[in-house]
Symmetry: D2
Subunit: 295 residues, 4 copies
């Protein structure tokens, strides 16, 4: 065969399996999104369209890769937890990492017009990705606590900062100076005393980030809306239907009646993807979803 | 600080530097592009629009990441060679790999409408990526020979196969049977005797793949059209101007007269990206471009 | 400085940290010990001197490296478990692996004359080593079960095999043929019916391998002799005293009365290394030593 | 099979191949040799016995592992260069690294009594090891230049330091103070003016370290004594014969007449291991031995 004398170069491709039976966390970060958000006139301190687009890309990724059991996003980053025992692509490091990064990126660009109908994309955005392994449940919990605590810290700062700039007529330099060294409590007070903003009444999406999980649907019509911070997922354009790659587990699809499956005694519970904005630092979130950390 | 008690989880992010002073090849492959090309009705055996879109994404990537000195593409894959001494992202493996994969993917989706104006993207395409290190020049040459030999083998087979199906009224099963075990020469003869196709007159793009390099521009107006297989890059839509991220090294930009630069004694030669469809297995391509393999 | 222009070569030394919070198992194997045992006329199927020398090297290693909490040896191999949270050498892979391998090897050669007083070492023996990471307790347990099950399988086979050869006058070829395809029960019967050997009465050391642990010493004179398979460690030559590196934790040293330490309220319990030949597949061994698998 | 339910734990052993076609350097360092040299009363600044023992262990290692083409040693460290194309143990990282480290250690302990007949080993010495990959010849040369420059720097300092202490009656603190900040030239002058020592007349072994190579033997009786810094290897005890593992390539063996081999037209040149103390920073050493860096 013509190519065979060159095929030896394949031997330089070295194996890169990830340690078995270990939690895989994949985190994606927007590349130069400071500039990107400026160029596309993102609202400050939070642009709801941009956040919903991130959620949508994450939701599509989790629909395509069912071994991702949890996603958490804030700003221009998203973290995904894969099942401890996943055998996706035989746990090949580069294969998993690049496939998830590429698909997320593709979804972001693909869905952009739905979320920014009046703002054409000026240039192609990109994300970097990394995989981190966690051997123990405690570390997985602490990883997501770390990200949500970061969300809180950043959002509180940014909320006060942009209030000072947008409503308080400070320059950005002055606003940074005002905030330098202030504790959390002081920031709350500035917000309330000067701008009548009660931080705790701000959108949960901004304060808590986005939490995406596969939820099991009880037989009775499910109602998970009793959490104060939970917001049901909304597709702004309603055009899910065009997306051929994501049919099988769409919320709509799975909530329709499926008589044949029920006759099979329905061993596997029906599931749906939920986007929430709830606390994931405390125990409740995890205790009510033991499957997130189980093998 | 609120998040500090969780910050220890960062210690699980392990360093992943690539060996210094080694050639880095990054290869991207379309994910499930068999289905993707069916869903978007790609022409068989080659869809020129799709190939030009791949070239465009590659060209954008090389414009953004100047340490990529060579690209080679065929079908739904593209390989990129980084300078042996590149210090891009401190040679961090995952950072380089995901950034290139993500940006290429983003460009592919972003530029899709220019190349498929009548075919809306039905769902988000994705690519996987891998990095392979080559310590020696010989192996880099053989790597690219391997890919171009593969291009030849695949394209010859596909060209005959689809001629048998589209013009010879064979089923795909029959066409595979016809070709089973045939040598290259026999395939050429089937093409010519039955379909009057001289394989060597087929588009170089299909036979040779796409070769993308940074070329130095001589002071005199350059002319690279003397190679039979070389095809100058053509932008089908001519709307390069909208792409803010890629202004500085466009062919048009750099080939315009720049008197001010010349006054500075022009230490650094002007360069431009060229897309060619030439042989890269022989010595000539490499001997005329010693900078590809130099440190 | 004279050497500085060359010092850049250090940058090719890449970091190799082991994943934190994961159990580290280091297994050493004799290199070409089939030949080595022949050259030094090891008794078949088991040479007690050689096994005790392995135990001694392992004991010395565990005395020197206190983060090793468990050792298990059979034949010419030994496995060591490091504490999940050990920070030995900042968890650098090659540093830990080579240091343990080298020290064990050194101890083996150093102590050889004590165990083989009449057999001079003919050439330098060596060991290879590997590190395997286990994220979960279950896998650590199963790893050691795997090794002890292997001990049982090999020893039963070898015991019957050498009985057939040494007492049954079979050639080695005949003995292999006799045993081909036999189940465990059949092997027991051959042993008993033909050679009056009750396998279960064979030395626990041969049947169970060697288990080495740091045991906490209760205040009252400890008695761990109630396990049928436990054999107290015996130094054949009694010349521990010459070994300066290993004084502090010898059984004899720590079991002597130490009034001064007791006055300090003895926060840290006294410990001693024990060599046992007990079952480690069942739960009892692990349940009575929870510190083996705790952080 | 009894052990099979546990055998899954083998899947946690991950592959670790070294990049093909890359030079492998393995460096071994004495572990806590400051204490070790004190405990065994090594002469200061250099103990010839200890250095010769290191050389002997290195020579034995290179006799056993023929893919090591060069060794360089100083003080308590030794570096070994493996052929770029070696396929030793399929280039498995841990296997190569631990096997070399272990065998070197074993040789050191094994041969100790020959070099220290009056100094019993008080405890088992050990070495750590690391592997560094170098893709290019230049870096291999610079690596060995780095080590030999280090040898020079250290030895010059130590020579003056110990002259000040042993002959100049300074305390070690005073001697360090005397030398602080001095350049090379000043150190030479102190040596000569105060102690009548011409540094360049000191043993080449101390100034240059030990260089060990496989040399090809010309048909005529070879003579390598024309290099000023070259010292032929001397076995202090002459008991090579006991060492069964190293018969085939001993100097004595290969320099004896071998009429049968000569009749076979002697395609493969005879080789012998040479220990030298010559310059390896300049070009001559490498130019006369092109096989060191060739594939």
């Amino acid at each position: 065969m013509a190519g065979s004398k060159y095929a030896y170069v394949r031997h330089f491709e070295l194996p890169d399996p990830l340690l078995p039976a270990t939690f895989i966390v994949c985190r994606l970060d927007g590349h130069s999104f400071h500039r990107f958000s400026d160029e596309h006139a993102f609202a400050k301190p939070n642009d709801e369209r941009a956040l919903k687009l991130m959620d949508r890309a994450a939701q599509s990724l989790m629909t395509e890769y069912k071994d991702i059991v949890l996603g958490f996003g804030e700003s221009d980053e998203f973290s995904f937890l894969l099942r401890k025992t996943t055998n996706l692509y035989n746990r090949r490091h580069a294969k998993i990492l690049t496939t998830l990064t590429s698909f997320f990126t593709s979804c972001y660009v693909f869905h952009w017009p739905q979320y920014f109908p009046d703002t054409p994309l000026r240039y192609p955005p990109s994300f970097d990705g990394r995989i981190v392994l966690y051997p123990n449940e405690r570390e997985v919990r602490d990883y997501f606590s770390w990200r949500q605590a970061d969300t809180h810290i950043n959002n509180l700062y940014n909320t006060v900062f942009w209030a000072l700039v947008q409503q308080g007529a400070q320059t950005t330099t002055e606003a940074h100076a005002t905030l330098r060294g202030t504790l959390s409590k002081a920031k709350h007070e500035i917000l309330f005393s000067r701008f009548r903003i009660n931080y705790n009444e701000i959108f949960p999406r901004f304060r808590k980030g986005s939490v995406i999980v596969w939820e099991q649907i009880p037989d009775a019509p499910h109602d998970i809306g009793n959490s104060q911070d939970m917001v049901s997922t909304q597709d702004p354009s309603g055009d899910n239907a065009v997306e051929n790659s994501e049919p099988s587990n769409d919320k709509d699809a799975t909530s329709s009646s499926q008589p044949k499956q029920k006759q099979k005694l329905q061993v596997k519970p029906r599931t749906t993807i939920e986007i929430m904005h709830c606390d994931i630092i405390g125990d409740e979130f995890w205790q009510t979803r033991p499957y997130l950390l189980s093998g």
